[in-house]
């Protein structure tokens, strides 16, 4: 468990620690099992839909990437923080066995209804630096001594 982040210590522009993952086929099959999304696009390299898309490799579930971004957001919030809002959109495909980097940056700090809120931009990034799963999150953090 990472150290708890406190509202006072967070600065706009601060980056979340990047998470690097290279999903293999077993991981995608397990994600299919866990999520119930058994679309063969994600595990059958001969699936006919891949070719018209110009692909020779399976694509990673969008929700798998959402979950990975979620790991970063929830790690940032820690046990004492709360994730108030979190969403991503699926803007690009990631392929099996390619590295994906999860990242995030603090865009604003504000107080609202007595809560200390931190706005974040979050994303997954492929090896070329394209943000394939951009999103935003709002996290309520504790203040020191509270």
């Amino acid at each position: 468990m990472a150290q708890q982040a406190y509202f006072e210590d967070v600065e706009v522009g601060q980056q979340l620690p990047p998470i690097k993952i290279t999903p293999d086929k077993q991981q995608l099959v397990k994600f299919a099992a866990g999520s119930g999304d058994f679309n063969p696009l994600h595990f059958d390299e001969k699936f006919p839909m891949l070719k018209p898309m110009g692909l020779t490799e399976n694509i990673v579930h969008g929700r798998f990437k959402y979950a990975q971004v979620g790991r970063a957001v929830f790690a940032f919030a820690g046990y004492k923080g709360r994730v108030k809002r979190f969403g991503v959109s699926y803007r690009g495909m990631d392929l099996l066995n390619r590295e994906i980097t999860v990242g995030g940056v603090v865009t604003a700090k504000r107080e609202e209804n007595g809560e200390h809120l931190v706005d974040l931009d979050v994303w997954t990034e492929d090896a070329e630096g394209k943000k394939t799963t951009p999103g935003t999150a709002v996290v309520a953090l504790p203040k020191r001594g509270s």
């Binding site: 099959v29 059958d44 699936f47």
Partner: protein, 143 residues
């Protein structure tokens, strides 16, 4: 509900209705999900070939389940599977027919119950019996 088979209609040497299966890779992944057997030889071609296999292979336990379906389809709601098992003696591939078959080897009545012993197996298109097994079922009698 299909029609009920009765003990009096069954004779040694009878073949029971066949069940034809043909697994898609998706079915193998669904089976992995349901069974918890995530060994990659069942869905990762490169992994399977790296272990020396020709390609993906069907889970043995899935063929075992197909044979159980063969039995249950035949005995209907009035019958019971008392004992059933098979061994894994050959490999099947996804996209290739798996023919599930069974033949009655013995019929007998004991303690008022009507028993039927069977040989069951899955068969590849080349005729190889990949999951031979045996079963004992009970069937209702007429009247």
């Amino acid at each position: 509900m299909t029609h009920q088979v009765f003990f009096e209609d069954v004779h040694e040497g009878d073949e029971i209705p066949q069940l034809r299966k043909n697994c898609s890779t998706q079915q193998l992944v669904l089976w992995a999900a349901a069974s918890g057997d995530f060994y990659q030889i069942h869905y990762d071609k490169d992994f399977a070939q790296a272990t020396g296999l020709k390609g993906l292979i069907v889970h043995g336990a899935l063929k075992n389940a197909f044979l159980a379906q063969l039995l249950h389809d035949w005995i209907g709601e009035g019958g019971q599977v008392r004992r059933f098992g098979c061994s894994y003696r050959g490999m099947d591939e996804p996209g290739q027919d798996i023919l599930c078959r069974g033949v009655v080897t013995k019929t007998y009545t004991r303690d008022g119950k009507h028993y039927v012993d069977l040989d069951v197996w899955t068969e590849r298109p080349d005729g190889k019996r990949t999951s031979p097994g045996t079963a004992t079922v009970t069937l209702p009698g007429r009247g």
